[in-house]
Symmetry: D2
Subunit: 146 residues, 4 copies
């Protein structure tokens, strides 16, 4: 299971009046993590939308909150693929504070592949499947277990 780390420094816009990252913002960091994970494997998500007419729509998302992230701290977003099928995949993301290394949150986002025009389920592009086989070798056919 190949994980990729991307980073983001928290702005004023990201924190609430308790001075900590607002809970829905963790899902935005997970989006950044997913895109950068794919890019680290030479897969450009925006090209898939443009060239293949396919998109990934979120089916399920969850997050478990363990510690706070504060203004001006750097979030390390560690992303990997936990499981996949021919038409869905499930990312697993851990979010750390960079300096202390403390784990702040962990979550999963399950996505399904759809055609851009009719939003019909569709199998993932072959090039993406190859990446999934390479980076998450035992994942094929496994669905997210809850």
């Amino acid at each position: 299971m190949t994980a990729h780390d991307s980073t983001y420094r928290l702005l004023y816009r990201d924190v609430d009046q308790m001075g900590v990252l607002y809970y829905s913002r963790y899902f935005e960091l997970m989006e950044m993590g997913r895109t950068e994970w794919a890019r680290s494997q030479d897969f450009i998500y925006s090209d898939m939308e443009k060239n293949d007419g396919l998109l990934l729509a979120v089916i399920n998302a969850n997050c478990s909150y363990k510690a706070s992230l504060r203004f001006d701290e750097i979030a390390v977003v560690r992303t990997s693929v936990k499981a996949y099928t021919r038409a869905t995949l499930c990312y697993y993301t851990e979010i750390f504070e960079q300096e202390s290394g403390r784990l702040c949150a962990a979550g999963e986002v399950e996505l399904g592949c759809l055609t851009t025009d009719t939003l019909t389920p569709h199998k993932l592009p072959d090039s993406f499947m190859e990446i999934l086989r390479r980076t998450a070798p035992d994942g094929y056919g496994r669905r997210k277990r809850t």
Copy 2:
């Protein structure tokens, strides 16, 4: 189990390039739903912070996405309390599109009561416990089941 409906009309700021409500925004609607649910029971969350020195911090959050919400549509956010203990509670929220009535998403958010100054776990205020007993009579002592 007493549910409360609040509504929100989607703005341009809320939708992504597929023209649908971005996935983390559903958690923002759930926040609106929680605050308005409490207000409908004459409990003002901001007063709890100011007068009791207590806040509610999110422990877990999840959402299951079933259909899209589009720009200018009205989201109906149906909120109730699913379970609670002396120091935690779990909200259950369903989000519908108003005109068609279609269910777009359902999710749970579990919160823990903390002191504002030291962020130490603390039991919920008595006035809030009374509301929980009245509106979710079987919930005491039950935790969120997953």
Copy 3:
């Protein structure tokens, strides 16, 4: 000059660690104000996009900040059209805190009409021009003065 008031209660997501509405969020309230101003004149912005293939793109925006808006307070967003031409218009918005009536911010947003497909400048729909003539009778041909 016909003004329209719409309201929005501030959520946790809207305030920063000083407990006040984050400065870019005022522009989101102005978007709400513009849409609701048009709706109050029976003009549905989303219909223009769908039926006329036209959209309004922001050319300039400014805001002057005078007082804070806090969590759980209600913003009153007072919107009117300050000036317009055949293909552009300029909204003027004041944002008040409802209970005290204090003025928190005032700003202008100038928009230009474009075709949805090629993003070419285009004159505003006739039905919208009629509303502009009725609600801002002296505005024709006037541009925003700074």
Copy 4:
């Protein structure tokens, strides 16, 4: 006038249904630019809040929109200080698309220094004034001209 470039790759969360950066988001990029400009001068904004009990509150903000920024493009945020007094300063920011170099927006944000506890106007910290003198040598005493 010393300018500093910081970069940000656009996420799905940032773009609206036209596929372009939503207009209020430009002000969030400007916030990133301001913080990183100060950091490039070894001034950490969050330390000022913690150690000096001072904050910078936005007084005026404006943005002129010239071209679109799209999903997955990288915004280059070029920030400098245009003018300052003993207790206020005005940033000037240009936002470019990295690959093409096209100018997408330009704007100014004027901020005033306040005490964190009573929100009373206060002169800027000496260490910050030194940076302003060094990087914007002609700016002292000049206010933003509109």
